[in-house]
Symmetry: C2
Subunit: 264 residues, 2 copies
């Protein structure tokens, strides 16, 4: 692991429920040398990627993220484009909806909306990086991604998150083929044992897959009728989002003959 990666990797330890991390805690969770860690943290802090609590000296994610997120959005307004679509979808189905962007070999969450209509709801952590093999969003992306990405993911170990996560490459390959045929993925208890989710690919310029839109439902509410209703609305929302993102053939993903043609 390069120095830069080692430093950037420290940033992934922050989450909404762990918003401040002290040096001692970083030593504990990373198992790295204290002096090196301190040097990395200091460089991140000097560049605005971290800031320190004035009295405890614990580290927090810094203001640079707000500025650089705004710069990215000014040029490639993904969040602004998908936000109203995700909100409308969540309201229409009464469940958690979220949009994510392909980041290397995983998905980065960008926006989620939860109408909070029910006593139980899917807990969503926006800091979590979504693995491609274990989430409905990820499988939807894999199904329409280029062969390189698919081959890379299928050739590596597939870590389990629950006892229902697909860890066998051949089973995953079949699910991916099925998802291409359906234009939509459905996973039950794969990333969280109590959650069933469906994902649809999002396409951008040049009709490349750029991310996914998904709806996650507590398994108890995932009746066949509800899942079908969600699937129908999810398809429409994903096509709308893809058109906004510059895809031309976005709606093809929902046509029964597209996957075969694209796969040929």
């Amino acid at each position: 692991m390069g120095t830069i990666t080692k430093a950037l990797e420290l940033l992934t330890h922050f989450s909404p429920s762990r918003s401040e991390i002290g040096l001692a805690e970083f030593v504990r969770v990373t198992g790295r040398d204290k002096a090196t860690l301190h040097r990395h943290l200091t460089e991140l802090e000097e560049n605005g990627f971290l800031e320190q609590h004035p009295t405890t000296r614990a580290y927090r994610l810094g203001p640079a993220f707000l500025r650089l997120a705004a710069v990215r959005e000014a040029a490639f307004p993904f969040r602004a484009l998908v936000r109203p679509i995700v909100m409308e979808l969540a309201d229409a189905v009464g469940e958690l909806a979220h949009a994510s962007l392909l980041q290397g070999d995983a998905l980065s969450s960008v926006f989620h909306a939860d109408p909070q209509l029910h006593g139980t709801q899917v807990h969503f952590d926006p800091s979590e990086i979504l693995p491609l093999h274990a989430t409905s969003s990820g499988v939807a992306v894999l199904a329409f991604a280029d062969d390189d990405l698919r081959a890379r993911v299928l050739s590596r170990p597939l870590p389990p998150f629950t006892n229902r996560t697909i860890t066998d490459p051949e089973t995953l390959r079949q699910l991916v083929a099925q998802t291409r045929a359906d234009g939509l993925s459905r996973l039950e208890g794969s990333f969280d044992s109590e959650v069933t989710s469906q994902g649809a690919p999002l396409f951008g310029e040049g009709d490349r897959v750029v991310g996914a839109l998904s709806v996650a439902v507590p398994a108890l509410r995932a009746t066949p009728d509800r899942m079908d209703d969600i699937a129908r609305r999810l398809r429409v929302a994903a096509q709308e989002a893809s058109r906004s993102l510059g895809a031309r053939a976005a709606d093809l993903a929902a046509l029964p003959d597209f996957p075969k043609a694209a796969q040929a």
Copy 2:
């Protein structure tokens, strides 16, 4: 400059008007060795901090910023808190208003609103890092920051941005003292020769200065009456924002006897 800083510094070259930068352009603007640059860019890309255009291979800021900005905002909702206040202020004064956060020894822009009521308007670049000595926001922060920050800024060269930027430490020290007395800074043509701006400090928990709120006006419209009207509304908006951010004595900054007491 450490390796991490060298890599992170590459990210500062992106702006809304320069949203994609190729390897050759990075070589040109940084003057660095191509092989090292490529290694740094690759590490940033592998961690989601950059992504590459599918055909041109030019680099863009990556999706990690959207995710990490959301994680920061979930814990410390600065943008969400100041957004409505900045929008209301911009509407009330009919001019560009913006909020920024202290990032090391400069300010990072977080949100701006422009009612676009006039034929001419201040051009605002959200990717720009605002220097403390040359902007009304920066001087407002310097006036209420701790002595260390003030001493550090005053001891270093003060680069000019226009022929009216204050580059003499003694003159800056006087302006800072005046700003403490007024609770508000006013700079004419200091960062952009055609812009007059006023800035007020934003305070957070423990009544520490965390950033600034400001209104920027084309010099032609900066009549004394308008500036006084803006100053009045800016004070109120900054106090409101500071209270939202957890400051207790936020309104003290506007009282005539606060600065003297605080300075004593």
